[in-house]
Structure formats: structure tokens, C-alpha cells
């Protein structure tokens, strides 16, 4: 680990100012990902601004829905009565992630900022355009069983590894950010993360120094019919092979609104508006779900070792929609 300057921020705007002033500075919240990456020499900040003591941990009802503080712990968020009652998809997604110990440390803002678990990104001896732009992509023709099948580029086939964000994409969340000018701005969650394109080193659209302060979720009618399905190599403490955040609102026999978001298939949570279009207006039957699943994966281009993700993605969408309809809780 490289030596770094450490300071504790007392208020958000000051923290933003401090990090903005130094291109090699980083915010530290729960540290569950950043500290690991610093030990691996993947992240080498010269300065770490500890924001964990800022007053940004509230979870409260708003006129339009819910506001969840960026520094609320994942555990506290998943177990909050308002979240469980009105946004069970978010609760399920958070609880599908990491381990209890990690969720107790990890914050919501940090969760959005977590970096890929691509093995080549983690190993400084290997080429990785995300870690070292221009060095190449080790995974493109390497071990890519856990990599992207959608939206990748020749430069990067890494996936966004998280669970929480998949639910946030389904729930049309808005990310409230303290800008470098000291003013708040909001980013629709689907515009938060990026596809790799020719700048895979950039995971998201935050400007350097901008700080997530809250996650806002508008009120919706998905609570009764939503499900988070995570398929993984072991029952806990593993990243998804494929995950699906599914949410439905029905009227009579017909689907009125639908959300289908695939996790671990792309560089960002992959919301499939194609699948949603197939679902809306149709009866909530397996045949409809299968048609939606086909639509979601029709552009998938698997790599050498992850062809299974196409079929697994389709089946997982069908299963998640079925469970959403039946009101199961993951």
C-alpha cells in the first residue's frame, strides 16, 4: 500500500472541496472495497478523505417517495421498515450481496461506487485498460467466465459486480450528488454508471470530487410484485453469475408496468427496456415472460467462457418474473 494523507471530513462540502483539489484523492466511507484495492496496489490515492462521519445516514419518507442517505449502511437500509415495506426489491438485492459483516460496514454510496471484480483488474501484473489505460484487456481472450455478454467493448469486458444498484435501476432511483461547486445535482440512476467504450477507466459519470449524498426512490406500485434473483457459485459471499431485478405492476390480467434489470452481464446494471416493452400490456404468463427474456438477451454476444450467461440470463428472467408475480421474498 502506498502512503497517503488521511483526513476526516466534518461536512460534505468541505469533503468535496478537499477531494476536488487533488486529482489523486479519494473518499473513504465503509472502505470494504477501496481498502482492499489499496492493499492490492490497484488504487493508489495520495490522499484519503474519510467521509464516514458525515451526517448522511438518514433514511426518511419524502413527499415523493423515500430518501436514503449515502452513508446509511447496507444492513440498516435493507432492514429499514420503510424499505422493506415499500421497496422490498431493494431490500432483497442488498441482502443478496456480500456477507453480513461486509453489509454492516458498507454504505449505500460506496456500494454504487464499487469497482469490478474482474481478476485482471485486481492483478497489477496483468494488462487491464480499466486499471492502466492502454495496457490492453486481459479478459477479452482470457478467463472470462464471469465477464460481460452485453454492452462491452474491445477495451473492457468487465462487469459491474453489485446487487443493490440492479434494484435501484428497476426502481428509477435518482442519485443526489454534492457537486464540486458546492451545489447538489441529481443523476437518474441509469445515467450513473457507464459502458466501457474507449474509457473503461471511468466507471460512472461523477466528476472527480463529486460526492453522493443520497439515493432517492420515487413512490411506485411494484412492492407487491417484485423479486431479486441472484445465481451464484455458492450460496453466500459470491458475486452473481447472473442476477435479475424484476418488478411488475398489473391491472386485471395485464401487466401495466414492468422492470427487468440484469446484473453481472455488463459494465453497468443492464435494464432491458426491450423486455419491458414485451411485457407491458400482456398477460403475466410464462409465455410472456419467455418472450421478454428472449428480447432481453437478443443482442448478447458471449465471450469464449461465458456463453452460459445467455441461457442463464433468459431462465433467470423468467424465474424472477414468476416469483415476482407470486409475491415471493428472496
Amino acid at each position: 500500500m502506498k502512503s497517503f494523507k488521511y483526513s476526516v471530513a466534518k461536512e460534505a462540502t468541505g469533503a468535496v472541496r478537499a477531494v476536488s483539489a487533488n486529482p489523486a484523492a479519494k473518499f473513504l466511507a465503509g472502505g470494504t472495497n477501496l481498502v482492499d484495492l489499496m492493499k492490492e496496489y490497484v488504487e493508489r490515492p495520495s490522499e484519503v478523505v474519510d467521509v464516514s462521519r458525515l451526517n448522511l445516514a438518514q433514511i426518511r419518507e419524502t413527499s415523493n417517495g423515500i430518501s436514503i442517505g449515502a452513508l446509511a449502511k447496507n444492513s440498516d437500509t435493507a432492514n429499514h421498515p420503510l424499505v422493506r415495506q415499500n421497496y422490498p426489491l431493494l431490500s432483497m438485492a442488498i441482502l443478496a450481496g456480500a456477507s453480513a459483516q461486509l453489509r454492516n460496514m458498507a454504505t449505500n454510496g460506496g456500494n454504487l461506487m464499487q469497482r469490478t471484480r474482474c481478476q485482471y483488474f485486481y492483478d497489477t501484473a496483468m494488462p487491464c485498460n480499466k486499471r492502466e489505460p492502454g495496457s490492453g484487456c486481459g479478459a477479452l481472450e482470457g478467463l472470462n467466465r464471469i465477464h460481460a455478454i452485453l454492452g462491452y467493448s474491445e477495451n473492457c469486458v468487465a462487469t459491474y459486480p453489485g446487487d443493490m444498484a440492479n434494484a435501484l435501476y428497476a426502481l428509477d432511483a435518482i442519485i443526489r450528488v454534492r457537486g464540486t461547486n458546492g451545489q447538489d445535482r441529481t443523476i437518474a440512476v441509469q445515467d450513473f454508471h457507464r459502458l466501457p467504450g474507449d474509457m473503461p477507466q471511468k466507471d460512472n459519470n461523477l466528476a472527480h470530487g463529486e460526492l453522493i449524498v443520497a439515493i432517492e426512490i420515487p413512490r411506485n406500485n411494484f412492492a407487491a410484485k417484485s423479486y431479486y434473483l441472484k445465481v451464484r457459485d455458492r450460496a453466500s459471499y459470491a458475486f452473481a453469475l447472473v442476477s435479475v431485478a424484476a418488478a411488475l405492476e398489473t391491472r386485471g390480467d395485464a401487466i401495466e408496468r414492468a422492470r427487468v434489470v440484469l446484473g453481472s452481464v455488463a459494465h453497468k446494471p443492464w435494464r432491458s427496456t426491450e423486455a419491458e416493452r414485451v411485457l407491458v400490456g400482456k398477460p403475466a404468463t410464462v409465455a410472456t415472460f419467455e418472450a421478454a427474456a428472449e428480447a432481453a438477451l437478443k443482442d448478447a454476444k458471449p465471450l469464449e467462457h461465458n456463453g452460459y450467461k445467455v441461457e442463464l440470463g433468459k431462465r433467470s428472467i423468467v424465474l424472477a418474473l414468476q416469483r415476482a408475480m407470486s409475491g415471493e421474498v428472496a
Binding site: M1, S99, R117, Q119, M126, G142, L143, R234, F239
Partner: protein
């Protein structure tokens, strides 16, 4: 009447372990300690062209950077200085660090940074810059099966009967290939050592399964007498074979200490453990079985190939135990290896046996389906009461009872054989079974037993306790045969000053060291009888030694009320203690018999037909491994074995990027082992055997046995659930779509 043997005893070291008082190798406090951090190569084959340590050397706190360029080469001493047995270890061709510019495997150590703190050493390690003349590594066993060869070509495999003809003539045949990837032990405690010199005397605290092996390795590394080296290893946080052979870091640590004339500590990172010790090799196996219509095996051909390094010929003993399990008159088994540009494999829990039995017991399941015979019935049809090669009877083999009891407890008779025929809601249910087999080994081992006049005993042996409960079982054996309360017996291990014992491996520790303690206690009893018989009132004058026993501090004559207070007797003879240092050796009686430990495993899996996710919902394991000394720790061993088997079957795989010859998942986030949520119902049972041929205590190996049949049982259950025969471990969800 046994007071301790066969009864549950909690770990005598449990309190020390859970309160942090148990000191592991890297935890010893040594003044003036310097910290070493290993720098590893970023190529898999070639030579180091240049290594630049200037920047690292200037970094804060750095004392020195060792590389192959400045690593001292100890000159071999004049021959008479070493006794012949200290030089006998010429076969120790294990990898030693920083010997040359040659790169044999990726993540090979190329430098050691020594600094005042761990953090300073770790940071400076990033500043060491190496350039290479890179060559293309070859690390893929399966692409090079044709390069496989025998370790000893002058001794080709010897067939039993005429396997080729028998296979050709067999009315029913099964032929299949099975592959198992590289797996790593991943004990919780990383390997580490602290070394310091006092003149020409070397002391090393090390994580090891055998202090004497490390002592020998250091003696040959530094060309100094073994007597000058003390290796201490009182506690080991799991090893599973990864600390059996000498790894490269103890000699590197000792050399660093010699160079900077300070104590040095070196601890592997988790990543460094993936090349800093051995691993279960990648194996490819082909099994051909021939059978009659009634299920009787007529031919077994088992061809096994594994990867080794390029500097050692490591052969995994996959076929040794499977060859002798069934009454098959015609068999040919061969084991070959392929040189690869990887580090050398090593024994990993149930080495060879679990890999070989995965292949054989899956093939037996395939044969059962080909024959339309129940898989358990097929095992019984081919049951062998004698070793099929030698014809010798087993000293004991309660495997039939294991099958019977396991099947009954599991409810095997309710199994419907058709794949996909059993369901739990939308989940597919599969029931599978397999056999486990391991040896009943005993190695020469010594112990020192001191019975003290204050009513206590001190017992010691240079063995190890890597987790099975050796401290506890040795305390129990000594207390039982010295007739003392267990609290008054202190057992110590893990120090080369103690009487020699073999490594803790092969599941032979209780049989070997336990026998030494038992026999030493017998000798002490004999001495007490002699002492008593010097006195006129002795009730033992005409007694045979076997008619006496020690209980509650008294020497008693069996079947009578006559006894003598042994401590009063010692006081009358002015003896502060009675000491016996004894080496127990395997009895020649063993030669007349075949020996082994056996078990039967029955597992239930539930498979999600949509996602391919497999859960092992139920496992019943029945084990016959002689006398159970301590049921508490024994069950713990078998349960742990089942968990290991679940990991091997469903999760574990070390992934090598063959373009670079580099392990790409050297961490516990990418290398999966089971977590609590993967483990459901596990029930272990023992069928005790009374077998005094194997050793006087009647104990057999059990620590490895528990996992041997599990991967096959799970793969067979997955076939029963899904109709898919997965012959390539691990069985991850993608393989079942």
C-alpha cells in the same frame, strides 16, 4: 475399563485457541525483528534480465533487498562435519528461492525486501523492478496429455490378470474420462516463519506439519548440522498438506536473518500461498470397467495423468487405493505426470485417493445404470474381503456394515433409480452414494513420557497438531494408560527438541505417536512393578505385566483389590520422576494382512432445474476406522471431511491463464470454498472395529477418509437429479444448464 478412551473430550487447547493465548508461528515476540516481504515474478517462464532494487532500497525503513544477485550461496562444508543421515536428504529437490535468474513458474519469488515494519516492506516491494527474457509457458495438462510419462520408466505398471482381454470380452462396458482442476488448501493461517541466529545456531518458528522436515531442509540448505537448528511450531491454523513438504520461505527467512544479522519474519500473503506451497494437481483420468450382466467386475483399467512442475516429478497416487477396493480379477492402473511451468504439486487432504475415487466411484455409478442394478447393490456384488492384489485378508473391514447402516439411515430403499424421477416442488432431487477408502498407516514415532512424583505427567513428541485434536488425543492416551486425571497430564509437540516423530500427514499420527505414548506408559508401568517387587509386601510378585494396570495413582492387580500407591512408591525410592523415551514401530504382524479404513457416503442434492444451482441438502457418512478414541473430535474430522468434499465437488478450482501461466484467482473472493449457507444436514457415524493388528491402540486413519467418497457421491446424486453426468469438477451451475 476405559476412563477416557472412547469418551468425548473437549479440546485441551480449545481455551487457549479461542482466547488468543495459543501462539502461532508468526506471533512469537522476538526483539529487534525485521520484516520481510516477498516480491514475485510477473512471467511464467524465462529468465530475469535485470532486477532494479535501487528505488526500493531507498524507501523509508528498508534495510536490504535480497535477490538472486546478492543471495549468499552457502558453500558445502568439509564432508566429515555432517553425519551421513544429515546429508541423506539428497532427494529434497524442493524449490528454493533466489537461487538463480531462472523463472520456473509465475509468481515465483524474485526478491525479499527487508524493512523495519511490515508496511514499509510491503510498500517497497512494489518498487522492485524486474525485466525478463520471457518464454512461452506451458501450463495446461489437458493439452499435453501425450507428453505424460512414468516417474520410473524401468518399472512399468503391473497388471493383475489380463485386463485388456477381459475388457474386450466383457458384455457390459463403461469407459469415461474425468478431470479435476488444480485446488489449493487455503488454510486460515497463512504460512510464515520467524528466524534468528545465535552464532551458528539457528532458531525458526514455522507453520509446519513436521518440525523435523523443516530442520532437515534447513540443514541441507545451509550445510549445517541438524543439531544446530531448532524448529518450533506449537500451533498450526490448518494446513491440510500445504505445510508437509518444506516450502521455500523458511530457508529464505533464515538466510535473510543471517544476512542482516537480525531476527526476520516473513509471512505469505494469501496470493503468495497459491505458489508458495504445493496444491492438488490437475488430474485427467480415464476409467474403463468391464462387467458381467450380474454386475461382477471383470476388468478395471485406470489411466491417470497429473501435472507436475518442471523441476520435480510429482506423481499423484490416484490409482493406488481404487485398485484394491473391488474384487475385480483383472486390473491395470497407471499413473503418469506431465511437466508444466507451474510450481510443484503437493499432498492435499486425501491426496490421490479422493481424486482416484471420484473417477472410480462415478464410473461405478455409470456402470450401475448401464447394468440397471442399484448402485449400492453393485458395490456389494463386488465386495472384496481380501486385497485383490496380494490375496491377504483385511485385518478388519467393516465396510459392509457401513453400507448397511448408511443406507438404512438415509432411506436408500426409497430411491427411484430413474434420473429426474424425484422432486421437491420445482427442485430436482438426487440421491447418490459412494465408497470412501484410506489407509491404516503407522510410521515409526517416538515420545517421551515422564511420570512425576507430584502426581503429574509430562509427555512430548515432535509431532504436530494441524487441527484434528492431536493435543487432546495424546493427553487422553497418556492419562488413560498412566491412570491419571487428564488435567494432570501435559502434552507438548511441535519442537525439534522433543523425540522425533513423522510429519502430521497420511492420517497416521494417532496410530504412530499414540502407540509410542501407549508403549512408553506400558514401560513405565513395568518399571513400577519392578519397584514394587523390590518390596516384601508387593502383591505383584507372581503377576504378569498384562495383569496390572494404573488407575487413580495406583498400580493395581486386575481382578483383585490389591494395589500400591505409585507416588508413595516413587518417594520411597527417592525418584522424582520415571521417564521413558520410546519409539513405536509398526508390528511385523501387519505384513500378514491387508489394512485400510473404509466408509460409505450417501448424499441428497436438490438442483434448481432453471439455474443449475446445486445444494447438498443431506449427507450421511458412515465410517469404519478402527477404535474411536475421542468421538467429539472424531466426528468433527468427518464432518469437516464432508464439507471439504462439498467444496471439491461444487466449487473449488484454481484457474490458470495458460497464456501467462498465471493463477488468476489467488484469493478467497475468486477461489470459492463453502460458506455456512452451503452446508445443510450432515450426519456422521462410526462402525467401530476391534483391530489390534494395525497398532496396539487399534486406531486407523480418519482425517482424510471423511472426504474421499463425497465428490463422487455428489456427482452421482447430481446425475440422479438431472440426468446429466458431469465428469469435470467442480459442478458449477453453468455445467447443468
Amino acid at each position: 475399563m476405559a476412563r477416557y478412551i472412547g469418551k468425548e473430550m473437549s479440546r485441551v487447547d480449545g481455551f487457549a485457541k479461542v482466547t488468543g493465548r495459543a501462539k502461532y508461528a508468526a506471533e512469537f515476540k522476538v526483539p529487534n525483528l525485521a520484516y520481510g516481504f516477498i516480491v514475485t515474478s510477473t512471467i511464467g517462464k524465462g529468465t530475469i534480465r535485470s532486477i532494479d532494487t535501487a528505488e526500493a532500497s531507498r524507501a523509508p525503513g528498508v534495510i536490504q533487498v535480497l535477490t538472486h544477485e546478492n543471495y549468499p550461496k552457502p558453500a558445502p562444508p568439509a564432508a566429515p562435519e555432517l553425519k551421513p543421515e544429515e546429508n541423506r536428504n539428497v532427494r529434497d529437490r524442493s524449490f528454493r528461492a533466489l537461487q538463480s535468474e531462472q523463472i520456473f513458474f509465475n509468481m515465483q519469488p524474485i526478491a525479499l525486501v527487508l524493512a523495519e515494519s511490515f508496511e514499509q516492506a510491503r510498500y517497497a516491494a512494489r518498487l522492485v523492478k524486474a525485466t525478463y527474457n520471457e518464454e512461452k509457458p506451458m501450463t495446461d495438462l489437458e493439452s499435453s496429455l501425450d507428453k505424460a510419462r512414468l516417474a520410473n520408466p524401468s518399472r512399468p505398471p503391473r497388471p493383475r490378470g489380463n485386463p485388456t482381454e477381459a475388457l474386450a470380452a466383457a458384455p457390459v462396458k463403461v469407459e469415461a474420462e474425468y478431470t479435476i482442476p488444480i485446488e489449493h488448501h487455503n488454510p486460515m493461517e497463512p504460512h510464515g516463519a520467524i528466524a534468528f541466529w545465535e552464532g551458528d545456531k539457528l532458531t525458526v518458528f514455522d507453520k509446519t506439519q513436521g518440525v523435523r522436515v523443516v530442520q532437515q531442509h534447513l540443514a541441507t540448505s545451509f550445510h549445517i548440522p541438524q543439531a544446530n537448528i531448532q524448529v518450533i511450531s506449537p500451533f498450526v491454523g490448518g494446513a491440510f498438506g500445504s505445510a508437509l513438504r518444506p516450502n521455500y520461505y523458511p530457508a529464505l527467512t533464515a538466510m535473510a536473518a543471517r544476512v542482516i544479522k537480525r531476527p526476520v519474519k516473513v509471512v505469505y500473503t494469501r496470493q503468495q500461498m497459491f505458489t508458495g506451497h504445493g496444491y492438488r494437481p490437475h488430474t485427467w483420468q480415464k476409467i474403463s470397467l468391464g462387467a458381467q450382466a450380474d454386475g461382477k467386475l471383470t476388468a478395471l483399467i485406470h489411466d491417470s495423468r497429473n501435472n507436475s512442475s518442471n523441476f520435480e516429478d510429482y506423481v499423484e497416487n490416484t490409482t493406488g487405493m481404487p485398485r484394491s477396493l473391488y474384487a475385480c480379477p483383472n486390473a491395470l492402473t497407471s499413473q503418469q505426470f506431465v511437466h508444466t511451468d507451474l510450481s510443484t504439486p503437493a499432498a492435499m487432504r486425501a491426496p490421490g485417493a479422493v481424486s482416484g475415487m471420484f473417477a472410480l466411484e462415478c464410473a461405478m455409478d455409470e456402470l450401475a445404470y448401464a447394468l440397471k442394478i442399484d448402485p449400492l447393490e453393485l458395490r456389494l456384488v463386488n465386495f472384496s474381503d481380501v486385497d485383490p492384489d496380494s490375496g491377504k485378508p483385511y485385518s478388519s473391514k467393516a465396510l459392509r456394515e457401513c453400507y448397511r447402516l448408511g443406507a438404512e439411515k438415509f432411506g436408500w430403499k426409497n430411491r427411484t433409480p430413474e434420473p429426474r424421477s424425484m422432486r421437491d416442488g420445482r427442485l430436482l432431487v438426487g440421491w447418490g452414494m459412494a465408497t470412501g477408502i484410506w489407509g491404516a498407516f503407522q510410521r515409526p514415532a517416538s515420545a517421551r513420557v515422564a511420570l512425576r512424583v507430584d502426581g503429574t505427567a509430562h509427555v512430548s513428541s515432535a509431532t504436530a497438531d494441524i487441527g484434528p485434536g492431536t493435543y487432546t488425543v495424546m493427553t487422553l492416551i497418556a492419562a488413560e494408560y498412566l491412570g491419571l486425571p487428564a488435567e494432570r497430564v501435559k502434552f507438548e509437540l511441535g519442537d525439534t527438541r522433543f523425540p522425533p516423530a513423522p510429519v502430521q500427514g497420511g492420517s497416521f499420527t494417532t496410530a504412530s505417536v499414540g502407540s509410542a505414548i501407549y508403549e512408553a506408559a506400558q514401560n513405565i508401568r513395568g518399571r513400577l512393578v519392578e519397584l514394587a517387587n523390590k518390596e516384601a509386601a508387593s502383591p505383584f510378585k507372581t503377576a504378569k505385566i498384562e495383569d496390572t494396570e494404573l488407575l487413580d495413582g495406583r498400580l493395581t492387580l486386575r481382578g483383585s483389590s490389591q494395589s500400591v500407591d505409585i507416588f508413595a512408591l516413587m518417594r520411597r525410592n527417592n525418584l522424582s520422576e520415571l521417564v521413558d523415551v520410546h519409539e513405536a514401530k509398526p508390528s511385523p504382524e501387519r505384513e500378514k494382512y491387508a489394512t485400510g479404513a473404509h466408509g460409505a457416503q450417501f448424499v441428497e442434492v436438490k438442483v434448481d432445474p432453471a439455474t443449475g444451482v446445486v445444494q447438498v441438502t443431506r449427507a450421511i457418512e458412515v465410517t469404519a476406522c478402527g477404535k474411536i478414541m475421542n468421538p467429539k473430535t472424531s466426528h468433527s474430522q468427518e464432518i469437516g471431511g464432508v464439507v471439504w468434499g462439498i467444496g471439491m465437488a461444487l466449487q473449488e478450482a484454481t484457474e490458470v491463464d495458460h497464456r501467462y501461466g498465471r493463477i488468476m484467482n489467488p484469493n478467497l473472493q475468486h477461489y470459492h470454498v463453502p460458506v455456512s449457507a452451503d452446508i445443510h444436514e450432515i450426519e456422521t457415524m462410526f462402525v467401530e472395529e476391534d483391530d489390534k493388528v494395525v497398532n496396539p491402540l487399534g486406531v486407523k486413519g480418519m482425517g482424510e477418509l471423511g472426504m474421499v467418497g463425497i465428490p463422487a457421491a455428489i456427482a452421482n446424486a447430481v446425475f440422479h437429479a438431472t440426468g446429466k453426468r458431469i465428469r469435470d469438477l467442480p459442478i458449477t451451475p453453468d455445467k447443468l444448464l
